[in-house]
C-alpha cells in the first residue's frame, strides 16, 4: 500500500515485452516450456491481480454493496459523479488527488537524487561500504506502522525530540511537524525518503556496477573530470535503470497511504489525505464500493498516462 513496491507496477511491462519478442523466433515447443515455467506466477497473477482488476471494473458500473443480494447496474454514474462539481464525492476525491499530486511532486525528485548520490558514494571503494549499504537499506525492511509510530514520537510538536533539538540550537521549537502544513508535507516526504531511499540506492548501485570501467578510463584519457564523467558516462549509463526507478517511485508515491494515515491522519483538515486513503475509506469503511472502484480506475488511468509519458521521454534518449 505504501513505499516502493517493485511488484506493483503493472504498467512497467514494456521492457519484458521487448525481450519476449526475441523469444518468438524460437520453436513453439520452447515457448510452451516457457509458459509452463511461468505458469505458477501467471496463475497467481491472474487470480490476485487480473481477476480483481476486472471485477473492480464491474463493480465500478454498479451501486455495489457487499450486503445486498443483487447489485444494480448504473452505467457510468459513479464516473460521472466524480466529474460533477457538487456531487458527494467530487470535492473530496479531487482534493485527495491534489494532495497525492503534491506529495508525488515533492517526494519523487528527492527520492531520485538522494539515492543516486548515495549510490555514487557507495560505488567508490570506501571502507565499510557494505556496512553503509546495509545501514541505508535497513529502514526499508521496517513496516510502515513501525516507522509511523516511531516518527510520531520524534515529530511530536511539544514532546518530540526533533523540536527539542531545534530548540537547543536556537531554532523554533514548536514547529507542527505532523499537525499543520507545510510542515506536515516536509515530514511526510522526509520520513518517506528516509524509509525508502535504500531501495532505490541499491537498484542504482547495481546499475552503476554495470557501467564498464573502460568508459571511465576513456573519459579520463580525454581529460574529463569527475563532474564531467558523472554527467557524460554515469547518467547515460544509468538510463535503463533510471527508467525503472523513476516509474516505480512515481507509482509508489502516488499510492502513498500509511505515512499519512499514521502520522497526520490526513490533517490539518483533509490537507494531507491521499487518494488511496480516501478510496479505502469510501470502499472499505463506508462500503461505497462502486464509487471507490471508479476512483481507483481514474487513478489508474492517470498513473498509466504518466507512466507512458515517462517511458516515452526516457526511452527516446536511451535508444
Amino acid at each position: 500500500m505504501a513505499g516502493p513496491n517493485p511488484a506493483a507496477p503493472a504498467v512497467a511491462v514494456p521492457p519484458a515485452r521487448r525481450r519476449s519478442r526475441v523469444g518468438k523466433s524460437g520453436a513453439p515447443r520452447r515457448t510452451g516450456t516457457a509458459y509452463l515455467f511461468l505458469a505458477p506466477f501467471l496463475i497467481l497473477f491472474g487470480i490476485f491481480v487480473i481477476a480483481p482488476a476486472i471485477f473492480g471494473l464491474v463493480i465500478s458500473v454498479t451501486d455495489w454493496s457487499p450486503y445486498k443480494a443483487e447489485q444494480a447496474f448504473i452505467g457510468l454514474q459513479n464516473y460521472i459523479d466524480l466529474f460533477t462539481p457538487g456531487s458527494i464525492t467530487f470535492g473530496d476525491f479531487w482534493q485527495s488527488m491534489g494532495a497525492t499530486g503534491i506529495f508525488t511532486l515533492l517526494s519523487v525528485p528527492v527520492m531520485l537524487v538522494v539515492p543516486l548520490l548515495l549510490a555514487v558514494l557507495l560505488n567508490n571503494k570506501i571502507k565499510g561500504g557494505t556496512a553503509f549499504r546495509a545501514i541505508f537499506f535497513a529502514p526499508y525492511v521496517l513496516g510502515v506502522a513501525v516507522i509511523g509510530v516511531v516518527w510520531r514520537y520524534v515529530l511530536d510538536t511539544q514532546s518530540g525530540i526533533l523540536n527539542y533539538l531545534l530548540g537547543l540550537v536556537g531554532l523554533p521549537s514548536d514547529l507542527p511537524w505532523t499537525v499543520d502544513v507545510p510542515w506536515a508535507w516536509v515530514s511526510l516526504v522526509g520520513v518517506t525518503v528516509w524509509w525508502t531511499l535504500g531501495f532505490n540506492a541499491v537498484i542504482l548501485l547495481a546499475g552503476l556496477k554495470g557501467i564498464s570501467a573502460d568508459l571511465y578510463e576513456a573519459a579520463s584519457l580525454d581529460g574529463a573530470g569527475a563532474i564531467r564523467k558523472f554527467f557524460s558516462v554515469t547518467l547515460p549509463g544509468l538510463r535503463p535503470v533510471m527508467l525503472f526507478v523513476t516509474t516505480t517511485t512515481i507509482l509508489a508515491s502516488a499510492n502513498m497511504f500509511g505515512q499519512s494515515f499514521i502520522l497526520t491522519k490526513g490533517g490539518p483538515g483533509n490537507a494531507t489525505r491521499t487518494v488511496i486513503m480516501y478510496i479505502s475509506d469510501q470502499g472499505l469503511a463506508q462500503s461505497n464500493m462502486g464509487a471507490a472502484s471508479a476512483m481507483s480506475y481514474i487513478l489508474f488511468a492517470v498513473l498509466a498516462i504518466i507512466s507512458v509519458i515517462n517511458f516515452r521521454l526516457q526511452r527516446e534518449r536511451a535508444e
Binding site: 454493496s65 457487499p66 450486503y67 458527494i88 510520531r152 515529530l155 511530536d156 510538536t157 511539544q158 514532546s159 518530540g160 514548536d174 507542527p176 511537524w177 505532523t178 499537525v179 499543520d180 491522519k265 490533517g267 490539518p268 483538515g269 483533509n270 475509506d281 472499505l284 469503511a285 463506508q286 462500503s287 461505497n288
Partner: protein, 438 residues
C-alpha cells in the same frame, strides 16, 4: 424516539409468546435462523459456537480465554470458540462470512457499528432473546439499550461502556502551587485552575484535533451545552447548532488564550500529561490501565461541567447474534446462554479499562474496592451519552473530526468548520438512507 417503538415491539413480541421464532417479527433484514431462547440455560444437544471479537490488546487476550474456559467447563453441551481479530477485520469479514453462513454465532461490536450491521441484515433481532434472558433497560445504564437498538428493534445486548474522564497530574498542580485535593467540577473552578497554571507557566489542558480524544471532548461539551449530534430520526446533523459552536469555541479559546499550546499532535496531550508538562487531559477510562501513570502522582475525576448541564461522551460495546445463512437455532440459544453468563461474570472486565455494562455487576461495591480509579467513571454514567445508533453513522461522524481539526489548527472558525461538516454529514445521511433503506 427508539425507546418508544422498542418498547412497543417488546410488548408485541411478549404477546406473541417468548418461544416464537425471531423471524415472526422480522421484515427484510432478519430472515431465517430464528432461535427459541429460554431464560434457563440452553439444554439442547451439544453445540459448538464461534465468538468473534476485536479484543487483541491489553488484558483481554489473557482474560477472555480464561472466562471462556470457565464457561465451557460449566456447560457440558456448549463449547465456545474464541476468535479474536482486529476490530477492523471484524468489520471487513463479517458481512461476507455471515452471507456465506460461515460467520460467528455471537460477536461483540462497538455501539456505532450495531445499526450498520443490523441494516445489512447481518444480525438477528434480539428482542426475544433480551426478553427471555430477563434483561430490561433498567439492567444497564440509562440509554445504553437504545444504543444497541435500530428501527424499533433491539439488536445489541450491552457488554461494556467506556466514558471520558478528567485525568490530572497532581505533581504539576503542586509545582504550580495548586491544591490537588479538589478537582474542578465546573467551568469557573476549571478556568481558575487553568489560569493559575498559566500564571505558573504551565499550559493546563492541551487541546488536540483528533478522534482520540479531541472529538470525544467536543461531543461531551456539545451535550453539556444542550446540543446533540443529530436530529431525532438521524436525517440531519445538528452538531453545528449554537451548542456545537459554543463547545468548539470553548476548545479553540483554550488555545487562543494560551491555556493550551497550538498544534498538539495525536496523543500529544496524554504524553504531555505523563511527562509532567500539562495538568489536565480529557481521556477515556481505558487510560486507567496505562502503565505510564505508575510513575506520577495522578487522579482521575468526572469531566468538569463547562456547559449548562452535566454530560459526558461514552462509547459502548454490545453482544450481537448473527443471522448466518442457515443459522442453527440451537447455536443461537447456546450463544444467548453464553452472553448471559459472560455479563453475570463480567466483574473482571474492569481489568481491561472498560466498565462492565450490567448494573448488577457494576454496582457491586467490590468492583470499586478493587479498581478505585473507575469510581469517577461510574459516577458519570447517569448522564453519559452514547454513540448515535444509525446505519453508516461512522461516515457522518468522520466530518466532526475534520471540523474540529480545521478549527483547532486555525484553518476555519468554529462555526464555519461545523457548518461545512454538517452540510457534508447531511449528504452522507441522505446517502445512507438510500444505501441501507429506512
Amino acid at each position: 424516539m427508539k425507546k418508544g417503538t422498542a418498547r412497543r415491539a417488546l410488548a408485541a413480541t411478549l404477546a406473541l409468546g417468548v418461544g416464537l421464532a425471531l423471524t415472526a417479527c422480522g421484515s427484510s433484514g432478519s430472515t431465517g435462523g430464528g432461535a427459541s431462547v429460554s431464560g434457563e440455560d440452553y439444554d439442547g444437544p451439544k453445540v459448538s459456537i464461534s465468538f468473534w471479537n476485536g479484543w487483541t490488546g491489553g488484558a483481554a487476550p489473557v482474560l477472555v480465554p480464561k472466562l471462556i474456559e470457565k464457561f465451557n467447563s460449566e456447560h457440558d453441551n456448549i463449547e465456545v470458540k474464541n476468535v479474536p481479530m482486529e476490530w477492523a477485520d471484524v468489520n471487513k469479514k463479517l458481512p461476507l462470512a455471515v452471507k456465506a453462513g460461515k460467520g460467528p454465532d455471537v460477536a461483540v461490536a462497538h455501539g456505532d457499528d450495531v445499526a450498520t450491521y443490523a441494516a445489512q441484515g447481518l444480525l438477528l433481532k434480539a428482542d426475544d432473546i433480551v426478553k427471555a434472558l430477563g434483561y430490561s433497560a433498567e439492567d444497564f445504564p440509562e440509554g445504553l439499550m437504545d444504543a444497541g437498538a435500530y428501527s424499533g428493534n433491539q439488536y445489541g445486548i450491552p457488554w461494556s461502556v467506556t466514558p471520558l474522564g478528567l485525568y490530572v497530574n497532581n505533581d504539576v498542580l503542586k509545582a504550580a502551587g495548586i491544591d490537588p485535593a479538589t478537582v474542578p467540577s465546573d467551568k469557573d473552578a476549571y478556568m481558575k485552575a487553568l489560569e493559575a497554571l498559566k500564571a505558573a507557566g504551565v499550559q493546563g489542558e492541551w487541546v488536540d484535533g483528533y478522534v482520540f480524544t479531541g472529538t470525544f471532548e467536543f461531543q461531551s461539551l456539545l451535550w453539556q451545552f444542550g446540543g446533540d449530534l443529530y436530529n431525532e430520526d438521524v436525517s440531519k446533523a445538528t452538531f453545528n447548532s449554537d451548542a456545537g459552536v459554543q463547545a468548539l469555541t470553548h476548545m479553540t479559546d483554550l488555545i487562543k488564550d494560551g491555556y493550551s499550546p497550538a498544534n498538539v499532535a495525536q496523543d500529544g496531550n496524554i504524553k504531555g500529561l505523563l511527562a509532567g508538562k500539562t495538568a489536565y487531559n480529557w481521556n477515556g477510562v481505558w487510560q486507567t490501565t496505562n502503565e505510564g501513570f505508575n510513575s506520577i502522582d495522578w487522579t482521575v475525576a468526572p469531566v468538569p461541567q463547562i456547559g449548562t448541564e452535566k454530560a459526558v461522551w461514552s462509547s459502548s460495546t454490545h453482544w450481537m447474534f448473527l443471522n448466518n445463512k442457515g443459522q442453527d437455532k440451537n447455536k443461537t440459544a447456546a450463544a444467548a446462554t453464553f452472553v448471559k453468563w459472560m455479563n453475570a461474570n463480567s466483574a473482571g472486565w474492569a481489568e481491561t479499562g472498560e466498565l462492565p455494562a450490567a448494573n448488577e455487576v457494576r454496582n457491586d461495591p467490590a468492583l470499586v474496592e478493587k479498581y478505585p480509579n473507575l469510581k469517577p467513571f461510574l459516577d458519570q454514567l447517569p448522564y453519559a451519552h452514547y454513540e448515535t445508533s444509525a446505519p453508516g453513522i461512522t461516515a457522518a461522524n468522520a466530518f466532526i473530526t475534520t471540523a474540529l481539526n480545521e478549527a483547532v489548527t486555525g484553518k476555519k472558525d468554529p462555526k464555519q468548520a461545523l457548518d461545512d461538516a454538517a452540510a457534508k454529514a447531511d449528504e452522507v445521511l441522505k446517502q445512507n438512507k438510500t444505501k441501507y433503506g429506512d
